[in-house]
Amino acid sequence: MEEKINREKYKTLGYNVLTLFLFLAIWTLAYWLIKSPFFPSPLMVFNAFLELLIHGDIEDVKLGMHIQQSLWRIFGGFAAACILGIPLGLLMGLYGRVYDSTKVLIEPIRFIPPVAWIPLVIVLLVGYFRFVFIIWLGAFFPIFIGTLLSVRGVNPLHIEVPKSFGASRFYIIRNIVLPSVLPEVLTSMRVGLGIAWECIMAAEMIGGERVGIGIMILKYAQLIRMDAIIVGIIVIGIIGFGLNEIFIFVEKRIFRWKEVVSI
């Protein structure tokens, strides 16, 4: 059984590598057909990647530095979103009336895109907080709403049974509500992290700094160096994918008792 699963895994991996090669082949073919200076081939992108990695960009900032700086910003915003979103979601889930009464404020704010906040952020905040605020905006609502819904979705039977045995409110929250919402809270944290990472471009449009993966893309966009832009795009995609996979792995580890972890 184990062996069969392993073989299946290797087979999937092999097919994935094959697809990747096929994709690169089609890309190269398209490059030959289009022959535009704005459509780089995979090889040119790879060269740009090496150049960025070893020599750095036009301002001598290496790709690793860009990534490190962006990750640092993301984790600031993501941590702020978790610290505010999880307790607030729990609270509003437990006291549904609070959410229902403030819906008219919360919901429209949810639909204001982080990018639209940039002008306000520039005039009202300074330095690192600008980035943290924009990323916080992106990550807060998925975490908050996910936690809120998971509290509302706790099986009422699990709450009623201890209640009828005389359990206190605190006991029910601690021993029943919290454990049963934890997997969903973690899932919404993962979604929040993904969105926070997607917000990095928006946050780094604020400008004023020279390091950051989004800033790198913007710098090269002004020079119309498509190869470097695509390096940036691919790096953002792969890091987002990597963060998500790590999170899924951790979720599966911690909540082994829960069968399904959805993507």
Binding site: L105, V123, G194, F241, I263
Partner: protein, 263 residues
């Protein structure tokens, strides 16, 4: 029925109260800050009136901005539905395709639409640029939700029909599609919200004067913070309304399903 109505009036008035408290707080903060960049609610109301009657510096009223933006958003969203639903159904029915092309699909999912802007500017022209950027954002939620809903169709329902001699086509049209429809509708709603939130990102492409995102960008360059906030609030409120209308329609169509989640 009577108490239900009473409850609704109660929730409505609580919402009204929290809105009033919020506006009063805002007045307070604006007075305390006394900054030309922190607009008070009165200034924003004035800005809104100006946008309705006169329009912005170029004489474009808020309705024209909204109309243009809605056309762009719905074109991108339409493209995402047309590609995402059949794509998700196909890859859900043949999961091995998804498993084998995961290495390409998944990283693409984490690239933010803004990062595509330089590419869209260089490779596309005019209206298709907006459609592409919005499509990039709204495709994946529809696609992934459809894919997962197909995978999560109750196997018993499929096997029972098979045992009774149903053809593959019958199983797909009579069992899988109806079972996945509510999830697809939910995915569409999430996508519509995301594509609406992308409007500012898409309209950063520039070259046009009309669009609600353009309004924010134009006003921020002139430090007209009141108009920036008018734009933000308009986006937030309209996004909220679109979502609510969609929830209403969902509840109507899928009345047989008890719960429609808000996220």
């Amino acid at each position: 029925m009577g108490s239900n109505y009473l409850e609704r009036v109660k929730v409505f008035s609580y919402n009204l109260i929290s809105l009033t408290i919020f506006i009063i707080l805002w007045f307070w903060v604006a007075r305390w800050q006394a900054s030309p960049f922190f607009a008070s609610p009165a200034e924003i109301a004035q800005g809104f009136m100006q946008m309705v009657t006169v329009g912005d510096e170029e004489g474009i009223t808020i309705f024209m901005h909204l109309w243009q933006s809605l056309i762009r958003v719905f074109s991108g969203f339409g493209a995402a539905c047309v590609l995402g639903i059949p794509g998700g159904l196909a890859l859900g029915l043949f999961p091995f395709i998804y498993n084998r092309t995961r290495i390409i699909i998944e990283p693409l999912r984490f690239i933010s639409p803004i990062a595509w802007i330089p590419v869209a500017i260089v490779l596309l022209v005019g209206f298709t640029r907006y459609v592409f950027v919005i499509w990039v954002a709204s495709f994946f939620p529809i696609f992934i939700t459809t894919l997962w809903s197909v995978r999560n169709v109750n196997l018993i329902h499929i096997n029972v029909a098979r045992v009774a001699g149903a053809s593959r086509w019958f199983v797909i049209t009579r069992i899988i599609v109806p079972a996945t429809l509510p999830y697809i509708a939910g995915g569409m709603r999430v996508s519509l919200g995301i594509s609406w939130m992308c409007i500012v990102a898409a309209e950063m492409i520039g070259g046009e004067m009309v669009g609600i995102g353009r309004l924010i960008l134009k006003s921020s360059m002139m430090h007209r913070m009141d108009l920036v906030v008018v734009g933000m609030l308009t986006i937030g409120i309209l996004g909220y309304c679109l979502n609510e209308v969609f929830i209403k329609v969902e509840k109507r169509i899928f009345r047989w399903r008890a719960a429609v989640s808000i996220d």
